[in-house]
Symmetry: C2
Subunit: 315 residues, 2 copies
Amino acid sequence: MKHDIDVIVREVGLRDGLQIHQTFMPTDRKLAWIQAEAAAGVSEIEVTSYVPAKVIPQFADAEEVTVRSLGIPGLTVAALIPNFRGAERGIDLGVHKLNFVMSVSRTHNMNNVRREREESVADFKRIVELVRSQPAGKRPILVGGLATALGCSFEGRVPVDDVVRYAVALAEAGADELVVPDTVGYADPAHVKRVFKAVLAAVGKLPVAAHFHDTRGTGLANVTAALDCGVTRFDASLAGIGGCPFAPGATGNIVMDDLVFMLDSMGLRTGVDIEKLVAVREIVRETLPDIEMHGAIARAGLPKNYVGAAARAAA
Amino acid sequence: MKHDIDVIVREVGLRDGLQIHQTFMPTDRKLAWIQAEAAAGVSEIEVTSYVPAKVIPQFADAEEVTVRSLGIPGLTVAALIPNFRGAERGIDLGVHKLNFVMSVSRTHNMNNVRREREESVADFKRIVELVRSQPAGKRPILVGGLATALGCSFEGRVPVDDVVRYAVALAEAGADELVVPDTVGYADPAHVKRVFKAVLAAVGKLPVAAHFHDTRGTGLANVTAALDCGVTRFDASLAGIGGCPFAPGATGNIVMDDLVFMLDSMGLRTGVDIEKLVAVREIVRETLPDIEMHGAIARAGLPKNYVGAAARAAA
């Protein structure tokens, strides 16, 4: 982490947000979004997913998006991988970070990747071997993602012990980092504390990121709870795009612009310029006029006489 | 507090929400809203404001709304009072609770009630005397409200020392309870903790409630922070109605339905039936079709296999 950053915010809207949007966002516009957000100070962006284009046509341009994003100075370029083949594609492209995901809920994992959870752990081990077999300069950071860790649309609440079990399994298999997502927006701050405290206690010094959806309005409250546990890496999507296939009209990921405002207002430096970030919304709005956009700070503006975290830290 | 309630949620939409809405809500519809929300389990409702009807025509029916609300069994009927005359009106009507409000920000107090802050404290002392001169059965609970405690649209951030000074002044004058509002939606969880910790430390055992607006998306995160300080009384408005005159499209108070969901999901009993509460939104929607309504739980529904706080406590 850079010495002048307290919390890393990571844009996932191009993957998690766009994956349920039927209209293809032209590659040039994706790049415009990525470039503008990087210029606003967002240091890590999940730019695409290496799923087959026939499964999610939105990601038919995964190669081009990756390669062009890698040309942006200072940006950590991440991509989701559903399996070993995805890891191979990412490594061939030279992507910086591979976000592997399995589900802690058995039913969700079976539905999503047609695998028992132990099979997914075994897949992850093979990916670790693949990554480690690369020459030093070509090794991506490998992230283990625990989908449904905070609730499952099939099973409801997921036992904390199960989350810990698979967090430890991915950590022991060789993950460089973990991410604990509230895939369907079920979490509340009390449960967030229970889960993150347990996971953090179990995996030692491994970085653990949080990934919240704002489906039921608790997204930023959950961020507050995770901050209290010591979490300093958060996923979000610009304008909260994404929605939820099970909840019409719901927001998707927590709103990046509101997240950055809240953190900044708390005195936590993100390295992001809020006003530049809010301006990036126009790129999405122009390109996808039918996409639902959320966010309070874009409507309400900054408070009177607002002084951001960086200025306060420097004063 | 009832032994089976952990957190008291208080409806303020009929006052704080409706006061900036130009269309008069017919008295019968206000009562339908109040009755339905009381039936859903909300135990305290700020039903009106005793400001002159020529100032805010929405409250031209303050007397009738108060009297009819007092007929609802078990409901604590509260009303806002801007001054001594308002207190007299409330006492004549037999209202249960008088919510006096002054602003911690000097500029805001001058603009709002044309008084220096010390003059407002003096007004409050006169109101305390009036209340205490009533026979025992006719004495309302008197609340001291500290508007702009968490930020002011004229002055920006308000010094914590000023909040403490006027909290102590109202407490020493004889308030039965205090409420600390984020009048214009400037607060973040870190600042909430600073302010509430300082106020709670200064006023001893006096109950201190929180009143948040969700103007910049941080409302429920601020609730989480206040809960961490030990606050157990929260204001909210159904569907977040209210808006902000300075921020078009912004929500008003935090959304009652989302607040109740979050608390309930955390295992904190509110005594409110979420599904009955969400159903009350229809009364507002039918009556005021042009009012902007917010809220995530009404769109997304409860999580799969959801078990509420009361059932968990009983299990």
